[in-house]
Amino acid sequence: MDYLIEQALNGFSIGAQYSLLALGLAIVFSVMGLVNFAHGEFIGVAGYAMFAMAAMGMTDPWLLVVFAMATVTLVALVLERVAFRPVRNAPPTTGLLTAFGVGIILQNLFLLMVSPRPKAVPELSALNQTVEVAGHNFTILQFLEVGVTSVAIAGLVWFLKGTRIGLAMRAAALDFTTVRLMGMRANRVIATAFAISGLLASIAAIFFIARRGAIDPFMGLLPVLKAFVACVLGGFGSLPGAVVGGLLLGLVEVLLIVLLPDKLAGLRDASVFLIVGVILVFRPQGILGRRVELGDKTA
């Protein structure tokens, strides 16, 4: 029973990270129809920003975290301006492939400018301390992950429901042309979507880096694939779907770690993807997605 509770929290905390990443993907997708394959590289950006600052002698973890979040948000805005604006009105495949090119560029920039080998970022390792709560062993990080993610989601909901630009973003998901006719600037709406997606990704990135204590140029690939899976599971473009999909994925992953013997550890990721494939076969539109028949009006 102890074990079960501990693993359940573990699942939720890993799932929270996936949810944050998946939310960023879903926001950008719903507003401008772009499948941002480069989303995982935001983790790398956060990691290398922290690494660079730490190398220059800034070791205060709080400052590092703030700096990483600011950098990632900025990079997200720059990418939107430089790479994704030219393909804004192109078919989804073009956007997907552009994003995939941007991802390759970022990965190789890390590789070229720092090192192909993993680098240690130990500044946040203090978060892995174990604390005892009601007889169970948890790490501070697990509480932070679940707590901060909840706050971030609450903040996002407030932003989308309570502000004018949030309203515009929700409307843009349905009909961008009308949003522009109402006098909202398309550039501002899309840039905001990217900034939010970068901000959410940077929070997830900090947790990832705190867990691993190290960074490498290709660290973003697997998390972003998982975030995609979370999105597809929940129904692509649906924000609640992204959260549910992410949490479900985290739980499934922890369940597999617990159930699969060490000998089959290599099949963990494979099994996650297999389960997702099976779910999609029976619910192609995802868990919270609405079934769309060909020719349905999407709005």
């Binding site: 499948v35 790479a83 030219p86 393909v87 192109a90 078919p91 989804p92 495949t93 073009t94 997907l96 492939l97 552009t98 995939f100 090119g101 941007v102 991802g103 390759i104 560029i105 970022l106 990965q107 190789n108 920039l109 890390f110 590789l111 070229l112 192909p116 140029p217 690939l221 694939l225 995609f228 899976v229 597809v232 692509f236 000998k263 089959l264 550890a265 290599g266 099949l267 963990r268 990721d269 494979a270 099994s271 993807f273 297999l274 997702v276 494939g277 999609l280 076969v281 192609p284 995802g286 060909l294 020719g295």
Partner: protein, 365 residues
């Protein structure tokens, strides 16, 4: 068949070879001629290094053409093809490697496969057949999905194949290299296979099935309304594509003699995908152009990457430069010419356009 085509046929200027078939054959012939000319030229004059590079490029071309068959015609981004390449290579390795070597490498192989040894040709055929079978099984699932969900499923296939290869050590040797595969394939055979594959892809694209599939990629609703069975067509293209990609893997195994599961993961998937994009994934000629452009370009950048001295200035080693350029090329192509270098045109169409322009120019001048 629609009425116009029917009327054309009954009018029938050519009773046994209709215009579309003839056009496709002409297109295939051009592709084969160019590929064979380049290949034979290299075989005759190339240094061993250039021959090696060309052989790898042709194997990549087979994979890219396999990718084009599905992705180019159905417009569903596929990232799972590297998995089928791995399957093709490993099945060939398991059947073709001499029993003696297998006794020390995979003595506990299931189904008594450690004691099975067939000729390289049979191993190749078995391997392509098995890969197609797996293509059929995955395809039945894949055609239920559309758009981004389908892409995610292709990624899943890649991750699952990799996971199985690395974990099932008794059969695939896991993360260790599988060696001792008879090296019976040289550049000559690879050229023959490439030519065959180019014809298959070009004929498929121009065939009735290919035309219908491309129509469904442009407008699924209109295609279905015309009675096109989109799922069935996608399945056919997927199985055909995976057979061709498996063929690339099998040839690679028989050419290199040593294979490693890690070589068939995201890196290969992205590289071949980039080749397809740069050339223009909607045409077979585009696949050829993309492979040629990126092979030459990346090889040049690799010289820079190792650190060279130009005019007395020593450039440092720059690992990752080739990857960086690959990304820059993809983004640039997508931003400025999203249809790729060939813009979805085949080579004979480009010739026809040039000829028309030339004739028009003469008339004016």
């Amino acid at each position: 068949m629609n009425t116009i085509a029917f009327a054309e046929r009954t009018r029938g200027s050519r009773p046994f070879l209709d215009a579309r078939l003839a056009g496709n054959l002409r297109g295939s012939l051009w592709l084969v001629l160019i590929a064979a000319a380049i290949g034979l030229f290299v075989m005759a004059f190339g240094s061993p290094f250039i021959i090696r590079l060309t052989a790898t490029a042709f194997i990549n071309l087979i994979a890219v053409v396999g990718l084009q068959i599905f992705m180019g015609n159905s417009n569903v981004v596929n990232i799972g093809h590297a998995g089928f390449m791995a399957l093709g290579a490993y099945f060939t390795a398991i059947f073709a490697t001499p029993v003696m070597i297998k006794a020390s490498m995979i003595p506990n192989a299931p189904f008594g496969l450690a004691g099975v040894e067939v000729g390289a040709l049979y191993a190749f055929l078995i391997s392509v057949a098995l890969t197609s079978l797996i293509g059929l099984l995955t395809g039945l699932v894949l055609v239920r999905l559309a758009g981004i969900a389908a892409t995610i499923l292709t990624i899943s296939i890649l991750v699952i194949v990799q996971g199985v290869l690395v974990t099932w050590t008794d059969l695939f040797r896991g993360a260790q290299a599988f060696f001792g595969i008879p090296k019976v394939v040289g550049l000559g055979l690879i050229i023959v296979a490439t030519a065959a594959v180019l014809v298959v892809a070009r004929m498929f694209k121009g065939s009735r099935l290919g035309v219908q599939l491309r129509a469904s990629a442009t407008d699924p609703l209109a295609a279905e309304a015309m009675g096109v069975d989109v799922k069935r067509l996608r399945l056919i293209a997927w199985v055909l594509g995976s057979a061709v990609v498996g063929c690339a893997g099998a040839l690679y195994a028989l050419y290199a003699g040593t294979i490693n599961a890690r070589a068939f993961y995201f890196h290969t998937a992205f590289l071949t995908l980039a080749m397809a994009i740069v050339g223009g994934m909607r045409s077979v000629t585009g696949a050829m152009v993309g492979v040629a452009l990126l092979t030459v370009l990346l090889e040049l950048i690799r010289i820079l990457e190792g650190g060279i001295t130009v005019l007395g200035i020593a450039f440092p080693e720059m690992l990752g430069l080739s990857g960086l350029m690959l990304g820059v090329i993809i983004v640039a192509v997508m931003c400025f010419r999203s249809d790729g270098f060939m813009g979805g045109h085949e080579i004979e169409e480009v010739f026809a356009m040039l000829r028309r322009r030339l004739v028009a120019g003469k008339r004016e001048g």
